[in-house]
Amino acid sequence: MKYIEELIRSMEYLAKDERTIFLGQSVKYSGNAIYNTLKSINDSKKIETPVFEEVQMGLSTGLALNGFIPITCYPRFDFLILACNQLVNHLDKMEYMSKGKMKPRVIIRTSIGAKEPLDGGPQHTSDYTEAFKKMLTNVKVVSLGEPEDIFPAFDEALNGKDFHVSMLIENGAFYNDK
């Protein structure tokens, strides 16, 4: 299957779990590539958020503290930077800060913006994968390079025992190319 088809299959799989909830900007309304992978998901499983990236990450963590599994969507890596406080200072540290008692399961989706056929420029196409790998201790950071990587990565993000937070990084260019 193609890259986008694997993403759609993975989202439909996640949506079958009653604990999951999808949130972010453009999860219900068109506006970015990630939206195109969520069209088949029922709106009752989605929260269209305002643009408040830091609050969105904390909101996602709070939902997870009380039993939800949020799939929190940041359409571009450049926007995820705004959520660093909640991601690095809170979600990543929570297990340590609670002596292992608080392990909220959160799935973070983001994407490296494509440069073809349109180049989004320096604020819309950055790739911070290596920087996040260095900053984060308890988050599994996964690059989704090939279509066959996608479903197993989301399955592990939902069910894996080694990590309770996963960051899955798509590449906008592969929506067309692979």
Partner: protein
């Protein structure tokens, strides 16, 4: 826990700190026992409590066993007193706990549970953009989230009113009390040589 028991707990921490037994910062509460005891009469056992670095009184009033809390403090965990069993979370980043409190409040509404979330913040935190985003969102969606502003007009040792030139009006649906700290921002005022 009554007023004198709260005061005695912090004095015990002070003594341990000054004896060099706590190898981490402590942010002691004091002078706000009456106000907190009154507020915690409204906080139910199954409610969630989110607070900051000055958290010992909140933890004790939300049911932490004093011995257990004291052990955590001696271990150096005063700035991150957390418990999933007691639904208690503290963050030592200004405004850090507010979005988390908001998310738990949203989960309670989605699950149609009947408990609430209480979020204790200082007066500098009240002025942040994060607070205002979360306050607006919680009110617009009728989320079960109560805010309490604890105003000592100090952020570390910086006066909040000087930095903003004035302070914002507290909305009617936000709990508020004013007090003067009787301990420094952190430590006890004595130089401790470890």
């Amino acid at each position: 826990m009554n007023k004198q028991e709260l005061i005695n707990f912090e004095l015990k921490v002070k003594e341990a700190y000054e004896a060099g037994k706590i190898k981490a910062p402590v942010h002691l509460s004091g002078n706000n026992e009456d106000q907190l005891i009154e507020i915690f009469k409204k906080v139910n056992e199954d409610d969630w409590v989110f607070t900051g670095w000055r958290n010992h009184y909140h933890a004790l009033l939300h049911g932490f066993d004093p011995e257990e809390l004291f052990s955590l403090i001696v271990e150096g965990r005063s700035m991150s007193i957390n418990s999933s069993e007691r639904r208690f979370y503290s963050s030592s980043i200004v405004a850090g706990s507010i979005p988390l409190a908001l998310g738990v409040a949203q989960s309670i509404k989605l699950k149609e549970e009947s408990n609430k979330v209480w979020c204790f913040i200082g007066d500098m935190t009240f002025e942040t953009g994060v607070f205002h985003e979360c306050y607006k969102y919680s009110r617009n969606f009728n989320l079960p989230l109560e805010f309490v502003v604890e105003d000592n007009n100090m952020s570390t040792n910086t006066p909040t009113d000087e930095t903003w030139n004035k302070k914002s009006k507290i909305p009617d649906d936000v709990h508020y009390y004013k007090y003067e700290r009787n301990f420094p921002h952190h430590g006890t005022g004595s130089w401790v040589l470890f």
